[in-house]
Subunit: 226 residues, 2 copies
Amino acid sequence: MGRSPMNREDTTKNRILAAAGPIFAQRGFQQATVREICDAADVNLASINYYFGDKQQLYIDSVILAREQRAQQFPFPSWSDDTLPEVKLRKFVGMLLKRVVVMQTIPWQVQLLMREILNPTEACRQLVEDYFRPIFDRLLRIVDELAEQPLTDLRRTQIGFSIIGQCLHYRFSAGVISLMVQEDQREECFDWDELTHHITEFSLAAIRNLGSHVAVKSSPRTSETH
Amino acid sequence: MGRSPMNREDTTKNRILAAAGPIFAQRGFQQATVREICDAADVNLASINYYFGDKQQLYIDSVILAREQRAQQFPFPSWSDDTLPEVKLRKFVGMLLKRVVVMQTIPWQVQLLMREILNPTEACRQLVEDYFRPIFDRLLRIVDELAEQPLTDLRRTQIGFSIIGQCLHYRFSAGVISLMVQEDQREECFDWDELTHHITEFSLAAIRNLGSHVAVKSSPRTSETH
DNA sequence: AGCTGTATGAAACAACTGTTTAACTCAAAA
DNA sequence: TTTTGAGTTAAACAGTTGTTTCATACAGCT
């Protein structure tokens, strides 16, 4: 009875959660103050300790909420069995970019998840198992389809990270990229269509050529005296 | 006369700078306390305000110092005019990875520069102009050499970010990657030789195939209904 | 010696932090 | 009505923060 029958109720606890997410995302765990959150939520200062025990537990609950809301907002693309792997890769890249890449203002959920990637806390291990690994596994299956021959585990993983890395770079380094490109190029530089196209084609070209050209790691020593 | 003739002097100011860098890097600007820094530097609590005015100016000076020391530690690779662009790319990737990629413990300079990339402050604009842009320009010149035909500005930039992104991913997402791969794969996953080889070959394959296959952006609309 | 200006030291300051306390409200049960 | 107990409130608490103050130390100078 005490438990919330609906999750959208305007209870004190929900009001705190709704206010805490964006504030933690923008200012980080340490910089965000409980007074700030309580003011924004329009609740009493003691409410956080009453409902969550302490500030850290509220943070953990906020991270979980961010993950849930974000996955729900951009669900994983679906495809039939006869879908070309090239198309699957494009859809995957497009999904990833939509979830993380800049769209004028950064959604607080993305910002909060970024903080966990960069500075893993308690909440991160669970995040990896429940969220990142399933996504990554699906990507690796696409890569397997695209490759002309069986890949070693290491090579598979490397290719996966190369694709993910290209995508996330536009989020993690967004500030530097903005300073780097001229003003008139900035918009098309972060354009979703443009990015999806480029990263997909770049990765496809790499996987195709990698398989046919240097399938086996030839030089065990690639020292810089090359 | 008042200015330091040698930079390596064991002055109070230098001792503060030497202590501040690692602490700022590990704990961030806000979390790092002036008391902590002064204790580590074995100077009086008031010294920071005396020599740097306030905490923020000390932080800015620390970022500048990190950049200088890091560039000096791994200078840009040199090559003659007839060096193959493929070799240049390998050297570039290797240099970048050496500067940023995990080597057991992260150097504090890298950690501090990361913080600036992710959360740009005052110190970042200067960092981009003096440090990132020259590096990026050299990369773009290599890309030009590798491409079989002239590239548009946008395409050039995109390829550059694809390469940088692959490298930085192993730093920014290092925590998540460690949680992602099995324990027995972790070492070779972060191995410098292995990484340099993969990212170089992946990017080379992409650039070659990209130029010959879909040199011109064919579809202005690549919506997800593809 | 006496003066001068830089450097250091211990202490205090004022503001802010997360958390706790104890009084209070008020609907539902007895 | 009385009692109960979860929810709310304002105030206080104890600790930490960056910064300032002011006394002192001491070298280089006249």
